[in-house]
Every structure is written in structure tokens, then in C-alpha cells.
């Protein structure tokens, strides 16, 4: 009897009473617990450290390798080459090297740990609204599933197609792409870089550029210094070989020389390529796909985002205003039962549960209840993802580079050959770049550890799908 009465009254009365401590709630899993931060329920495949301050991709790729190589090479340089060169040349050398080294490390960390420009996923209402707009025009035939939804906009007298992202349930803004490795839409998506273990997008592209430019200077500098060191040593003695044999530091020499030799070419090339991209206001993604190069036969295409002035392009990309992070990692999740697909939620209803009860009848309630499983199914990684992030000690970056590389084939791979063959293959299609990439990749290199430092993960298979 009591139960019956309660049940009947759920709709109008019991719902209208905002109970701060709700014992027999009809909705499941409502336990008053500590307010969670949004990063804990973030649906993408990212990991968070320092209570949401640091964000990395789930697979940190070969970031430890990158870091290790830089530290090792620089360390050997400072220990073995600097003392000699300070004595024989000038003491500016360790100073310059130090400055470059600091720049490299800082920009590497900033590239790796900054939100690249992740777009939060659509709230349920937004998604429903978009669905309504899409379904209406296509109208009648319910059996035929329409092709991937696109919307056309005109930007600068150029037709640009905006694609609908089924994961994030939004129409992607121009230049936004969904990274399959991180499972996020990223604004001005450039590529997913396994070397820094993160996507490179609108917010961290300048850090990435600083990183590769300063790294190319650093490697060139170290290479030059080591060569000078060896040259100076061999002047006094019987030649280079003798100098090497006699020196206690021959292995560091050889290591530094080899590492720097390969990295100078690759990283310098990569910097050159990205300098071109910056000057043309292009992204790696667009360059690889040939979005604006007119390869699809359309003569009229040009980059609609370019300011048609190299200086202005450079300034806008590198010195433009720093956009804010849209995902608000450290905000608090409103205490609510409904699963958050989007980490950015309207904060007005502090007692959202009560509103749920108050405002609508059974119908609304049923709608919510039915929607929750839908929401959970759309972000299956949310909960299991959050748990490991919370449990791991900070600030640990746990990759398994030996295992990871096969999966992490980002778009970097073709970039690496692109930068070499750029002037040649740019007019060719994706096929050509793919081909040249494969060719380059197959040529054996004695030092895989370092050659692979050229941002092309040593393994094959450019997965262009990751650039979708």
C-alpha cells in the first residue's frame, strides 16, 4: 500500500520536493560522493596528471625515447665536449648549448602536455537538435541511410565541406579533424605525433614548431661542436682515427656524431617542411590530403585560410592569440546522474537531480532514463579510461615503446618524406607521397633508434585513417 502510494506520487509530488539527501530514489546509482573533476569523466582517450593540469594522449608513443635521446646526446655533449671546447675555443659554447637545450625541453613538454585544441563532444540536446536538422531535409526515405553527413559553407569564395563526426556528434568546424588515436576532434588538426605523444593542433602547434626548430639548431650545434672537437684533437696527433682511439670518450663521440648526423638531416628537413606549412597557413593534414592543391581536378581551389602574405601567415600561426582550452579539465562535474558525454556542461543547475524531478513528469523521466544507457554506450572508454588515469602515480608517462609503435602510425610518416621530397611531390597526390614514403622507409638504416627520430615511426603503414 505504502509502496503503491509512493509510486503513484513519484510523478507530481515526490518529484517536486527537492530532497538533498534522497534515500529511496527511483534512479539508480545516485550516491552522494565527492565532486568529480571533468577530466575524470572525459570521454576521449587521454590521460591526465596533476589533477587534470597535464593532458597526454593515451598512448604516449615514443615520448620517453625522444626525451631519452635528447637528454643522452646533450648530456654527453656537455660532459665530454664542452670542457675541451671551453679550453680551446670559447666558453660561449656551453652557454649556447644550454639555452638551446632548455628551449628544446620546455617546448617538448609544452607540446606533449598541452591540450591541442580538443573540441568537447556535443551535449545530448545539441546532438538532438542537429539530428533534427539533418533528418528533415533528407526527409522521406527511412530505409535508405544517407551518406556521411556533410554541410557546405563558403569561406572566402571557396566551398568547404564540413563533415559530421559520429563520435562527437557535431559538424566539425573547418580544419578540424578527428584523431582516432585520441578519439577527439581537434581544431586545426595537424597530425598526431608519436614522438611527442600527443596530437598537434591549434593550441600547441606553436610549441611543436618551436620544438623542432630549436631541436634542429641543437642537433646542428652539437654536431658542429663534436666535429670541431674531433678536428682539434686530430690536429695534434696522427689523425682522426688515432685521436678517436686515444680519447677516453670515443664512444660518446661516436654516439653523438651518429645521432646528430641523422637527426640533423631529418629534423632540419622537418623544420623546413613546417616552415613551409606555416608560411602557407596549411596543416600537415591538408597538405597530405591535397585539400587545396587542386589535385581533384578542380582548378579553382586555393587555401581559403591563407592571408596571401607569408609574413602575415607566419604571424597568425605563431604569434596569434592563444586560444583557451575548451574542455575545462579541472572544472567540476555537476552532481548529476546523467552521464556526461561532453565534459563541458551547463553549470546553472547546482541541484540538477532535483530539477530532473521537478520539471517533468514520468515522460521526461523515462526519456532521461532511456537516454543514459545511450550516452554510456557512446563513450565506452570514459569510465575505464578515467580509472587508470586516477590510479597511476604522477607524473608518470607509461608507454611501452616496443609495443606501441606498430599501432601508432600517425600522419607523421609521410611528412618525413614529404619534407624531403616536398618540392617534387607536392603536386602529386597522396599516392605518390605514400609511395615515396614507403620507398624511403624500406631503405635500411644502421641506426634505427636515431633515424626513427625523424618523426617517422619506424614502422610502416601510414595510417591515413588516423587523419580523418
Amino acid at each position: 500500500m505504502m509502496k503503491n502510494r509512493e509510486y503513484q506520487q513519484i510523478d507530481p509530488q515526490a518529484l517536486a520536493t527537492p530532497t538533498p539527501t534522497p534515500p529511496p530514489r527511483p534512479l539508480p546509482d545516485h550516491k552522494p560522493k565527492r565532486a568529480r573533476r571533468k577530466w575524470e569523466v572525459f570521454p576521449g582517450k587521454n590521460r591526465f596528471y596533476c589533477d587534470g593540469r597535464i593532458i597526454v594522449a593515451r598512448q604516449s608513443g615514443v615520448l620517453p625515447l625522444t626525451l631519452g635521446l635528447i637528454l643522452l646526446t646533450s648530456g654527453l655533449f656537455f660532459v665530454f665536449d664542452c670542457p675541451f671546447l671551453v679550453r680551446h675555443l670559447t666558453s660561449c659554447i656551453p652557454a649556447i648549448g644550454g639555452v638551446l637545450f632548455v628551449f628544446v625541453i620546455i617546448s617538448l613538454f609544452q607540446t606533449s602536455f598541452t591540450d591541442p585544441g580538443i573540441l568537447p563532444r556535443a551535449t545530448p540536446e545539441e546532438a538532438a537538435d542537429i539530428e533534427k536538422q539533418i533528418d528533415n531535409p533528407t526527409g522521406s526515405s527511412s530505409s535508405y541511410r544517407p551518406p556521411p553527413r556533410t554541410k557546405e559553407v563558403i569561406i572566402n569564395q571557396q566551398v568547404v565541406k564540413l563533415k559530421y563526426c559520429f563520435t562527437c556528434k557535431i559538424f566539425r568546424p573547418p580544419r578540424t579533424s578527428h584523431c582516432s588515436l585520441c578519439d577527439n576532434c581537434v581544431e586545426r588538426f595537424d597530425h598526431h605525433c608519436p614522438w611527442v605523444g600527443n596530437c598537434v593542433g591549434k593550441r600547441n602547434y606553436r610549441f611543436f614548431y618551436t620544438f623542432i626548430v630549436s631541436l634542429s639548431f641543437l642537433t646542428a650545434f652539437i654536431f658542429g661542436c663534436v666535429t670541431t672537437h674531433l678536428a682539434l684533437r686530430s690536429q695534434g696527433g696522427n689523425g682522426l682515427v688515432f685521436a678517436l682511439q686515444a680519447s677516453p670518450a670515443r664512444y660518446p663521440f661516436i654516439f653523438d656524431l651518429v645521432v646528430c648526423f641523422f637527426s640533423v638531416w631529418s629534423i632540419l628537413g622537418l623544420s623546413g617542411f613546417h616552415t613551409y606549412l606555416v608560411a602557407a597557413n596549411l596543416t600537415t593534414n591538408e597538405d597530405i590530403k591535397g585539400s587545396w592543391s587542386g589535385k581533384s581536378g578542380n582548378e579553382d581551389v586555393g587555401n581559403p585560410y591563407s592571408y596571401n602574405s607569408m609574413i602575415k601567415n607566419c604571424c597568425s600561426v605563431l604569434c596569434g592569440p592563444m586560444p583557451p582550452s575548451l574542455i575545462d579539465r579541472r572544472g567540476f562535474v555537476p552532481s548529476d546522474d546523467s552521464v556526461q558525454t561532453s565534459p563541458v556542461e551547463i553549470e546553472l543547475p547546482a541541484a540538477k537531480n532535483d530539477i530532473n524531478m521537478c520539471t517533468h513528469g514520468t515522460k521526461g523521466l523515462l526519456e532521461t532514463a532511456s537516454r543514459s544507457p545511450l550516452l554510456t554506450s557512446s563513450c565506452p572508454q570514459a569510465k575505464p579510461q578515467a580509472a587508470p588515469a586516477v590510479l597511476e602515480p604522477l607524473p608518470e608517462i607509461t608507454p611501452s615503446p616496443a609495443l606501441e609503435p606498430p599501432k601508432i602510425a600517425g600522419g607523421r610518416q609521410s611528412t618525413n618524406t614529404s619534407h624531403k621530397h616536398h618540392s617534387h611531390h607536392r603536386s602529386k597526390g597522396k599516392q605518390a607521397s605514400h609511395h615515396t614514403h614507403k620507398t624511403a622507409n624500406s631503405s635500411p638504416r644502421p641506426h634505427h633508434s636515431h633515424s626513427s627520430r625523424r618523426k617517422d615511426s619506424k614502422n610502416r603503414d601510414p595510417k591515413f585513417s588516423s587523419l580523418r
Binding site: S107, E125, I155, R175, K312, C315, I346, E347, I355, L365
Partner: protein, 167 residues
Amino acid sequence: MVIRAEFAPWIHQFHNLQELRHSASLATKVFIQRDYSDGTICKFQTKFPAELDSRIERSLFEETVKTLNCYYAEAEKIGGQSYLEGCLACATAYIIFLCMETRYEKILKKISMYIQEQNEKIYAPRGLILTDPIERGMRVIEISIFEDSGSTSSSSSGSSPTSSTAQ
């Protein structure tokens, strides 16, 4: 973010909204989408949605959206100050981003104040509430439409029951 902390207490204070809370229910939400005709800068469409036809004057709505667009344009403007900020940041290996608030963030604060003010003066009396676009990833301006009590028999027009301000 500061925006949210400020927003909640304001709702409790504001008289009109209290009336809304007691009597109104969330009817539907209207989303003003982004206008990409000028590229990737943040700009919202000024097209007047049909659902607001009976609720607010077109000119007021357009004024609000245009002002917001101006704010965003100012935030994203590439000019002297942004160059200075960018070069300084580059010279310090971007460490200053950790220490100081960027111009964009300052303008975002101004925007949230503006939206709050608009809500208080114009929208809430008409049973509408604007949501700051930053809370929706700068994708949309979300306008929540409340129905007054009384005529609410057809209120739940397919909208989600979540996130209503009625408290």
C-alpha cells in the same frame, strides 16, 4: 572556471528568475550555430530562430549576437598586441603562458559579464536564458526557453529534461 561559480548564485538572487523557477519549466533549447563564412574565427549566425519569434524582438537578439561576435573578433584579432604577446611568449619559451592571463582569457571574462548582464536585463524577463558559448566548446550559443506555468500543457516539446535553471 570563474564563469560558472558566478552564474549559479546569480540565479538564486535574481527575482525574475525565481519566478521562472517556481512557475516555469524548460520548454526547449535553441542553438545558434557558428558562422564560418569568414574562416575559422569565432562568429555566430545572426539568423533569427523561429522559436524565438514570439519571445523576443529580433533587433535585441541580433544586437546581442553582433556584440558577442565583436568581442570574439577582438579576442582573435591579429594585431600589435597579439604579436607582442606572441613574441614575448616565444622568447620565454612560452613559460609566461603559465604565469599570466592571456588577452583572450581577459576578453572571455568580459564576454561572460556581458552575457550575464544581457540575461538579467533582457532575456530573463522574457523567459529566456543565454548560455555562454565557452561552456559549449564555442560551438553554439544555447538559448533555453522557459514556458510560464499555466500554459504549459504542451511544454515538454521533446526537449531533454536536464539542465534547467529552475531551482
